[in-house]
Symmetry: C2
Subunit: 444 residues, 2 copies
């Protein structure tokens, strides 16, 4: 038994070049607040073992062969600060470590639940470990279909080539009947909204707004608006529900005329994937990141925002993924915003590109830094600043479209506002973003 | 021009899955002491551009196509601590970042100098960037031959299957003539040393000990010792010299009977590679890590010890690589020791495994933790504790072999010392390592 224990080290702590990259998913962890010069190698190896073949002690059937084939391997340990020799300065008592572990995906093959259990299972019960990233080999991703439409598909449906899209959340979030909601839909669409979405709180089982009736009335209103404005509008009906009713809801909504769907993160990525890969679900799907804050917000534990919201959401097949804006009411850190958006916009083997959709306290005054950060392949989500515009919802949507047009044509907002009353009123009401006011403009 | 500048972001900051891994060398950097929530994306992208196709401003011929094909890409940005949303706690004002940049090796193809210029060129002139690791694709490493002998080849020459090898540095380091040195060689070899090496200071041009005469006399002494002890001994003659004399020196030494060679890090990896890949240089080569401390010791800048000493040394073809022991006079941090050794011992495509050789204040009392950390595929380097042993050099070497035998047979050193006077005297003189005394036992 001691010999078996000793056999861990050379096998389980390896250089990246020692593994066949095509057979492993590589996870990057942050391990915080550790005593400096700790025995991190044994610690990291014990996590790799715990998350693949082993437990807290050797067991007879966990042979060397089992470990070589099925064991996760530590492929990188980086101590921060990166001292090399002792003695250390006296005030250096704690370190942080980046640890990279390669998981052979033969242990879970092609499913997201098994993947999450491997890379963020029991290991997350240890304090001070945060999963920052996963890197997937091509062969693993090949078993995923990803988004059916993606950025290019949605642009084609809408006939909008290259400007950012405008998204509106119906507000009030919930508690309104289909007639009230459809009036808001009509106005938002008419004002120039490209994508109208239910609020995440307006799930499929809200009694005051039954899904089928809601979709019929909303789509009717949208069709009227579309004819008047000469543009197309998508409506993402929120079908969030228990697992067994999800596909049923999707078909009810599509049958009632919905040209898009929406699910909350709370349905689970595995359920989202079944929807997204189902040929009968032939409309784009928007993913809302509710609940993910409970997973990504700790700097020391959980899973990073770009992984839990963006990379896994895209892998599961979301065509559009919402996340908080750094310039809105929730104040996402700016480099997280860019990382999330790039994760959705970059090439990712055969997977279509997913539309980044920013929201949360967004108004015309923050359009400029948003496009500056992410380019034009984005959806700008606006709720309150459309339905709460002093001149009404139509003017609210117009003000946003005017702001978008001004920014992509390099016209200062204040200049554009001289020609557009709706925009002028919006800027007066909510101001224009400037770096000095950076951060959470409207802290909750 | 502004459009070209904007075109950077989506192209130059990407997810790892967006690049063809076989065409890129991935560098992992630590960027320290940065204002929290800094504009790290633009910073990192500007480094990637600076180290590949671009400069501090766009130039007309740096087209989008040039950037896509030849530009380095940022493939990971991890802020530490890993906050996600503002506002941050008031005492959090500084961050550190791990930044991963993928370099298309089409920019330098198969040479080490060009590689270093790309991954650690001008970028190292920026303060607070330390290069922690490089990950090489198979296709890049294929153009390197690596070590000619490696661990298995050296074991075969010596006929030693699985115990750690004992290495002795002739001391005094320099300033001794070939006759004095050969007497020390004879004694060290007779006592049980497997590999005798010149000190790094005893370079090829030391006037008091001309290379040819030195090798002849040392090898003569070693041959006599080998016959008496019934074991083989390697002698790594230090041929360190200006570039154009390096191969000449190698052939002089081999011609004079040297069965191994040694170069200091100061000759440069490119020169080492020419030696190692030369079919006429048909003996193992030991690399000494002198000068590397100037490169790896800062926690905030330079290049990590495991990369500069181990991974690049192995790539350049060293059969044995020396580095400081955590239990000796120089106190390498323990996880660095393990990382260096694993980098040499792990599989690395077709490259043979390089023997990790630890030295610097090593004596019989520290053999146990060394083997515990790294296993038995190591060389234990001992200078002073052999030639400074109170009973003389033969006894000094014997004491080391006795310590090695005791540890690999699970016999406590104090127990073994009851049967071996040389070991007892050594333990009395230098003590036995215990974790409480961990760190730099003999600080310089």
């Amino acid at each position: 038994m001691p010999k078996q224990k000793d056999a861990y080290k050379p096998m389980m702590f390896r250089i990246p070049e020692s593994i066949d990259q095509d057979e492993y998913v590589v996870a990057t962890y942050l391990f915080s607040d550790v005593k400096v010069d700790a025995d991190i190698v044994n610690k990291a190896v014990s996590w790799a073992v715990e998350q693949s073949t082993g437990t807290w002690m050797g067991v007879p059937s966990e042979t060397v062969d089992v470990r070589v084939k099925f064991g996760a391997k530590v492929v990188g340990i980086y101590e921060i600060p990166a001292f090399e020799m002792l003695p250390l300065p006296e005030d250096v008592t704690k370190s942080q470590f980046i640890v990279r572990i390669a998981f052979p995906y033969v242990n879970f093959i092609d499913q997201i639940p098994g993947l999450l259990t491997a890379v963020a299972g029991n290991i997350t019960l240890t304090n001070s470990i945060k999963l920052l990233d996963l890197e997937f080999p091509k062969s693993f991703v090949e078993s995923f279909k990803g988004p059916k439409f993606g950025i290019e598909g949605i642009r084609e449906i809408l006939g909008v080539k290259d400007r950012p899209l405008l998204n509106n959340m119906i507000k009030p979030c919930t508690g309104i009947d289909p007639d009230t909601g459809s009036k808001l839909c009509y106005e938002a669409a008419l004002g120039g909204t490209d994508i109208i979405k239910d609020d995440e709180l307006n799930v499929a089982t809200v009694p005051i707004s039954p899904l089928k009736e809601r979709v019929k009335k909303y789509m009717g209103a949208i069709k009227r608006a579309d004819q008047e404005k000469g543009e197309k509008t998508l409506y993402t009906a929120n079908i969030t529900d228990r697992a067994k009713r999800l596909k049923e809801n999707a078909l009810i909504a599509i049958d009632a005329g919905a040209n898009a769907l929406m699910v909350n993160f709370t349905v689970g990525y595995s359920a989202l994937r079944e929807l997204a890969e189902d040929p009968e679900v032939n409309v784009p799907i928007l993913l809302h990141p509710d609940f993910t804050g409970a997973i990504f917000n700790s700097p020391y534990s959980g899973v990073s925002s770009s992984l839990i919201i963006a990379k896994l959401g895209r892998l599961a097949g979301a065509d559009m993924v919402m996340f908080p804006s750094p310039y809105g009411k929730m104040g996402l850190m700016r480099s997280r915003e860019i990382t999330i958006a790039n994760t959705l916009q970059s090439s990712f083997y055969h997977l279509k590109r997913t539309f980044p959709a920013l929201g949360g306290g967004v108004h015309p005054g923050v359009v400029s830094p948003t496009i500056e950060d992410l380019g034009t392949d984005i959806i700008i989500g606006v709720g309150g600043a459309i339905h709460g515009h002093p001149m009404g919802s139509i003017a609210g949507a117009k003000a946003m479209r005017e702001a978008i047009d001004a920014v992509i044509n390099d016209i200062p907002l204040e200049e554009a506002a001289k020609k557009h009353e709706e925009l002028a009123v919006a800027l007066k009401e909510w101001g224009v973003y400037s770096p000095e006011k950076k951060g959470s403009i409207y802290p909750l």
